[in-house]
């Protein structure tokens, strides 16, 4: 009996993290047959160089490598990838994988002549964008530009409203102080220096 309980705990301890990782990690293009505990864990970390707050729900094609991470501007951040693959297949991959990851597909633009594509996708009022372009440095590959909203933990999600207020309130105070300063010279003219 004790052995059975111990075995159950061990199984949960080992499989639990892998199940979680599979749910929150980037969905890879690889076939489901390759699922293997250690391989799965390493694969779901995603390519090296991903920003720490990368939205792990956004799928990435197998073999994608990070080419550049732009510093966050406003609420969003951009990451550029280089990935092997065919233009149309990569579009089909995203149109299938994004809804599976819980995203709503938004407006899209495809210009086959220039092999460029843009797709907008949303989740809970967060708007992300995927652009697929020819990779200038390696014509056999595609460049992916993903603009995403960094994940916030539960506490930060709850505090987001106050975070936004905090961005404004100090400026409001500065505004009032500045007004006071503007009025001050008229009220108390400075003494001329000897």
């Amino acid at each position: 009996m004790y052995k059975l309980i111990a075995a159950t705990f061990l199984a949960v301890a080992l499989l639990g993290p892998s199940a979680n990782a599979a749910e929150s990690g980037p969905t890879a293009m690889a076939s489901p047959g390759t699922h293997h505990l250690l391989a799965s864990l390493s694969r779901h970390k995603g390519p090296a160089g991903l920003p720490s707050k990368w939205d792990k729900r956004i799928p990435l094609p197998e073999g994608a490598i990070v080419k550049g991470v732009k510093p966050p501007t406003g609420a969003a951040q951009a990451v550029e990838f280089s990935a092997p693959g065919d233009f149309d297949h990569t579009i089909a991959f995203y149109k299938e994988a994004l809804p599976k990851a819980g995203f709503q597909l938004g407006p899209e633009v495809k210009v086959p002549a220039r092999k460029v594509y843009s797709l907008n996708f949303t989740r809970a009022g967060v708007q992300d964008t995927l652009a697929i372009l020819p990779d200038k440095s390696d014509p056999s590959k595609l460049a992916l530009r993903i603009i995403y909203t960094p994940e916030k933990g539960w506490i930060r999600t709850k505090l987001a409203k106050w975070e936004d207020r905090a961005r404004i309130v100090p400026k409001w105070w500065r505004h009032r102080e500045e007004e006071k300063r503007e009025k001050a010279p008229a009220a108390a003219p400075t003494q001329p220096k000897p």
Binding site: G74, A75, E182
Partner: protein, 433 residues
């Protein structure tokens, strides 16, 4: 000798006088444009130089700190498909006997040649603005930033009180399409009577408004009001909104009827042609995205302004319609872009209440980094919208696109980016969940 000299002096004087008379005549003929020259920088101290070249509202803004850099006038080329449609269809269009509707319209500019003495001249200008070359089929701008603040003493923009970011500013025309199928008319128009769909959603910031949005459908029937729905994220409800609310500034200053010039339902107003003159407009802005001037709230960044040919139209609400509460709107329409560089709104007492200014650029892409939204010819698009509310003392400036967004594509114009489904309440709600 003296006589000869005298004769010579007389001849010189006569010549000089003739030159002066000719110069005065030329200056008078050119009128306004002589008041400013390319490379002039207009600051509050020099505001008087542009008093007669801008609307009363813009003049107030210049006195309050809006700086201008005067540049040479540049022609605005229409997109070739729009130009071809205008040439093919213009003669077929006429104003209906009710002076409110047009008939025979297919695509392009409805009235390329307007006689100022025509009693319907004002209505024709407004219809030209409705089917203007800037967006004939569809448009989608992602990541719009709007900054809102009270103005300080003297009218300068104060520190930011609110910053709002919206995911999409998009529209779809069902009539007058020139570049994307179905052309020139979406078959939906025959059954629904809708000719313009608009969406502004989801709000991305601030957090308490995240997911909120607005959808608007316009009908050709002059007696049928726009259908408008708003989604509020707080209570997760979609509500139908009255058309008159689109002209209500609420707390923000900028109204939905002035998001892109004069957007109100055409048939809700009566129009009067006030005149045609050379005035300043910023139709070829030097920055795209527009700069946010951190140090002073955006009033000292001198943008490019040039002399333009402007039709001045007065719009007054028509009784029995859902036109807003404003007593009078004066629209200054550029007769090449058919877009107003500015619009002044007055209250019943005749006081100036609000001024909206629009900065346009004319390029083949919104930003130099754009890779998808790249066009084979130059297009006009809006880079910034500013509304000064003189009554509330607020200033709202929207950046189209936002200067801080990492999405460098900006405007997707006539690329078939959005389909009609995007303008349904279900889609707006799904984007918020």
């Amino acid at each position: 000798m003296g006589e000869v000299t005298l004769q010579s002096r007389d001849a010189q004087s006569a010549f000089l006088i003739s030159i002066l008379i000719i110069a005065a005549f030329v200056l008078f003929a050119n009128g306004a444009s002589a008041q400013v020259q390319p490379d002039d920088v207009i600051t509050p101290e020099r505001a008087d130089k542009v008093k007669d070249l801008v609307s009363p509202g813009v003049y107030q803004r210049v006195k309050n700190g809006l700086a201008m850099k005067i540049v040479e006038t540049q022609a605005i080329e229409w997109p070739p498909p729009y130009k071809a449609a205008t040439e093919a269809n213009a003669s077929k269009v006429s104003i209906g006997p009710d002076h409110r509707t047009i008939s025979g319209y297919v695509a392009g500019l409805p009235f390329p040649n307007i006689d100022p003495n025509d009693p319907d001249a004002a209505s024709k200008v407004i219809w030209n603005m409705q089917f203007r070359p800037i967006f004939s089929d569809d448009y989608d701008l992602r990541f719009v930033d709007c900054d809102f603040g009270y103005t300080k003493n003297g009218g300068r923009q104060g520190d930011l009180l609110e910053s709002i970011q919206a995911g999409h500013y998009a529209g779809y025309n069902l009539v007058g399409r020139t570049e994307v199928q179905p052309m020139p008319t979406d078959p939906d128009f025959q059954s629904s009577g809708r000719y313009w769909l608009f969406a502004l959603y989801p709000v991305l910031a601030p957090a308490e408004l995240r997911g909120s949005g607005l959808i608007r459908h316009r009908f050709a029937d002059p007696g049928k009001s726009d259908n408008i729905w708003a989604y509020t994220a707080g209570d997760r409800h979609v509500r139908e909104v009255g058309e008159e609310m689109m002209n209500d500034p609420g707390g923000m200053g900028l109204t939905a009827d002035h998001l892109a010039g004069f957007n109100a339902k055409v048939q809700n107003y009566d129009y009067k042609f006030l005149g045609h003159k050379g005035m300043l407009g910023s139709m070829n802005a030097s920055n795209s995205p527009e700069n946010r001037c951190v140090e002073d709230g955006g009033v000292k960044c001198a943008e490019a302004w040039e002399m333009r040919q402007i039709d001045i139209i007065e719009a007054t609400p028509r009784s029995g319609t859902n036109a807003g509460a404003s007593a009078k709107t004066v629209i200054y329409v550029d007769t090449e872009a058919w877009f107003p560089p500015y619009v002044d709104v007055y209250v019943t007492s005749g006081e100036l209440y609000q001024t909206s200014i629009y900065w346009l650029a004319n390029r083949d892409r919104t930003t130099s980094d754009a890779a998808v939204a790249v066009y084979p010819f130059k297009r006009s698009f809006i880079v910034a919208i500013e509304t000064q509310d003189f009554k509330q003392g607020t200033l709202t400036k929207c950046y189209t696109p936002g200067p801080d967004t990492p999405d460098r594509e900006g405007w997707y114009i006539n690329m078939g980016t959005t389909q009609k489904e995007f303008y349904q309440t279900e889609t707006m709600v799904r984007a918020a969940q």
